[in-house]
Symmetry: C2
Subunit: 429 residues, 2 copies
């Protein structure tokens, strides 16, 4: 049997008892005959506590030292997990990101993994040890500085290790049972998916499903590493994320044809919408607007430009962006008004985005129409529309998000026959 | 001006405010024109908290993982100190023991420093940065594992860095004003020493003065690094520990001739006494007893063997040892009784040791007599006696320790004219 990489987040490592439970879980996998490599996050609130200390010491701490500070969190949890495993009669070796060969660029706080050179990990596996690696951290290639990977970093560490070790699977343990057809807090009849494709998972993550981070799924897709998203609180199978879903999965899911087309309904309440009203419809005006936003380091999501009214030759440009960037974006645009000569700016942060995602919709022309009529029947007005090959997203009023999600979920026959009691929470780092 | 190495212990780094105070102190030294390298311990109770977590997870955690765990403590404090310095407008770079080139053997929990290769520290100094190094930790030479140095480790880190960097001085910041002629809690008129020799400091440390650890003083003596022991809560000069004390120091101290002979009076209440009664006075019997104790890894302190009584040809052997080793030693000896054929074992842990220390006593024959008569006049009975070139130690009843210390301190005119209000506490790690 091959190598299994597992990742446990902070909520699975909240205290000594939780750590012991994780250790038993790891040992079970080892007993099945697998070699096991584990990426861990910092325990529960450790990172927040460390950042609070930093804020007490300096209002603007240097990024290098913030990374040194935060990296202590995984050092603590990895040692404790290794101890708990040893207490069960198995041997474990813990390694920092640097020791495990997680080589990154030098962008403190949001470093990208450049390479993984897991020589010490491979050696420890060869000696029969279970290996525990600090997630979320690495060492910069040229300067040998301690770096952290930013949000979703521990998941990415796990997938990167799985790729470098040619692992069978990367198991991401979390506090939910897997990936659902919708947030069960909104749609109690939401169904756990047995499998989704990388592409679907990417769209789900981009559209607000917080279960896996975009970059970790991108990494897994690039190296074709199957991810098994599952609960650390149960032994149920979770959701497999992989390149293609074969017929077996479809039959196992025992779903209708529609369900094979659609993976799920995602929603996102973290965005705001800005409309630039009355932009002269000339070559280069839109470019100037988006250049200014890029310079302010703002990531835009949906962008819509209406055709210009023939009478005035003016057009409106709307886009969505993270609410946290709203103030910065409005300032950047306001300072551009005299140059571009637009009429005014509208800002709306009472919006929500509802997205329908499924690789099967490529070849099923009726999906868009069904989606829109479901939302219409629920009495919800659509503000913006944006589509990709395997996704349709609409912006609606924030208060209408739940109704739109439920209506869509039901229209595409995604409802499960039994109600599952799960919490659809966010991931840690 | 040259390099100054400073060391701050856990009590000087208890919280954010303490860390900011330490940062100001470091910056003051930098402003004077020195290059500054700082070794830090973990904050206040961090190490205890981490060890408690370890105990919750496993009753007998592997030493390797305990070192990984504990090393997180200095990683936190070093980053916070660097941040606080940056907040004062200076740049700092923090390095782990491994990054700073603190190379050790592979004995987890009590590693010895083999070499210091401070390439990154030197480079950072050259770039104008203040350098913060994690005390107490290193990396093993062959296996590249994280190690910790055991008790007194951070002091040793500081002295080792000072030696490797050819520093002017190694300043050890603590919660007392320096080295005193006796514990001021027992002798309120105890005087701070301006200077002591390495040898005197070694004897003081070995005899219960907890201000500096033996190994750190040994290291400083080997590389001839002056240590300045001083308070992090005041700007007073502390005590200089160095190879020889010149006339200037004597004049500065404005002390009597006696005070130049005697450095101080130390005491120790952490030992117990074992007497092996009725040992046959034959060649090799004592050796068998001490071989058994050595095998049980027990460090003995004073050893006394009386001449044997002519009638019986039996002798008594007494020795002192750490109380914590008492049970182990008694078991080891009991299992030896039938072979050696001694009569019985006596165990006494209600003892204390009082020691008079001073390099000058070598050439002053009257010191021993004066010491004994001072103790006698205080009505204290002497149980055991042991001497070195620059030290006389006696074992007395535990309750008589204070009286013996005061009487000795006074007999040798060590009393200061003004009473200093200080706390004579232990060192951290």
């Amino acid at each position: 049997m091959g190598i299994v990489v597992q990742k446990y987040g902070g909520s699975s490592l909240a205290d000594a008892d939780a750590i012991k439970r994780v250790a038993r879980r790891i040992v079970e996998t080892k007993k099945e005959g697998h070699d096991v490599v584990v990426a861990v996050s910092a325990m529960g609130d450790t990172t927040d506590e460390l950042l609070e200390l930093a804020a007490d010491v300096s209002p603007l701490p240097p990024a290098r030292e913030l990374d040194v500070l935060q990296s202590a969190g995984e050092r603590i949890s990895m040692a404790l997990v290794a101890m708990a495993i040893s207490d069960l009669g198995f041997t474990a070796r813990s390694f920092t990101g640097s020791q495990a060969g997680v080589i990154t660029d030098a962008q403190h706080g949001k470093a990208k993994i450049i390479d993984v050179t897991p020589g010490r990990v491979v050696q420890a596996i060869g000696e029969g040890h279970i290996v525990i690696v600090a997630g979320f951290q690495g060492v910069s290639q040229d300067t040998k500085e301690i770096t952290t990977l930013g949000r979703g970093g521990s998941d990415t560490t796990a997938v990167a290790l799985a790729a470098a070790l040619d692992a069978e699977v990367c198991e991401i343990y979390t506090d939910v049972d897997g990936v659902f057809t919708a947030d069960p807090r909104i749609v109690p009849s939401a169904r756990k998916l047995d499998a989704v494709t990388y592409e679907e998972m990417l769209e789900l993550a981009a559209c607000g499903a917080k279960i896996l981070h975009l970059r970790c799924v991108e990494y897994a897709r690039r190296y074709d590493i199957p991810i098994h998203v599952r609960s650390s609180f149960s032994h149920l199978d979770g959701t497999i994320v992989r390149g293609s879903i074969d017929d077996d999965d479809h039959q196992q899911q025992e779903t209708s044809m529609e369900a094979a087309i659609i993976a799920g309904v995602a929603h996102d309440r973290s965005e705001a919408k800005i409309t630039v009203v009355g932009v002269p419809d000339k070559v280069g005006e839109a470019a100037r607007i988006f250049a200014a936003l890029a310079e302010a380091q703002i990531n835009l999501d949906m962008i819509v430009q209406n055709v210009s009214a023939a009478a005035t030759n003016l057009t409106d440009i709307s886009f969505t962006l993270p609410r946290s960037d709203g103030q910065t974006a409005m300032s950047a645009l306001a300072s551009l008004q005299s140059q571009v000569g637009f009429d005014s700016l509208l800002y709306d942060d009472k919006i929500g985005k509802v997205s329908l995602i499924g690789a099967g919709m490529r070849s099923h022309p009726g999906v868009t129409a069904k989606f829109f009529s479901a939302i219409a029947e629920a009495g919800v007005n659509i503000g913006m529309i944006s589509t990709s090959e395997i996704r349709i997203s609409v912006v609606v009023d924030e208060v209408d998000v739940d109704a739109a999600v439920r209506a869509t979920h039901s229209a595409f026959d995604l409802d499960s026959t039994e109600v599952e009691a799960v919490v659809y929470g966010g991931t840690g780092r």
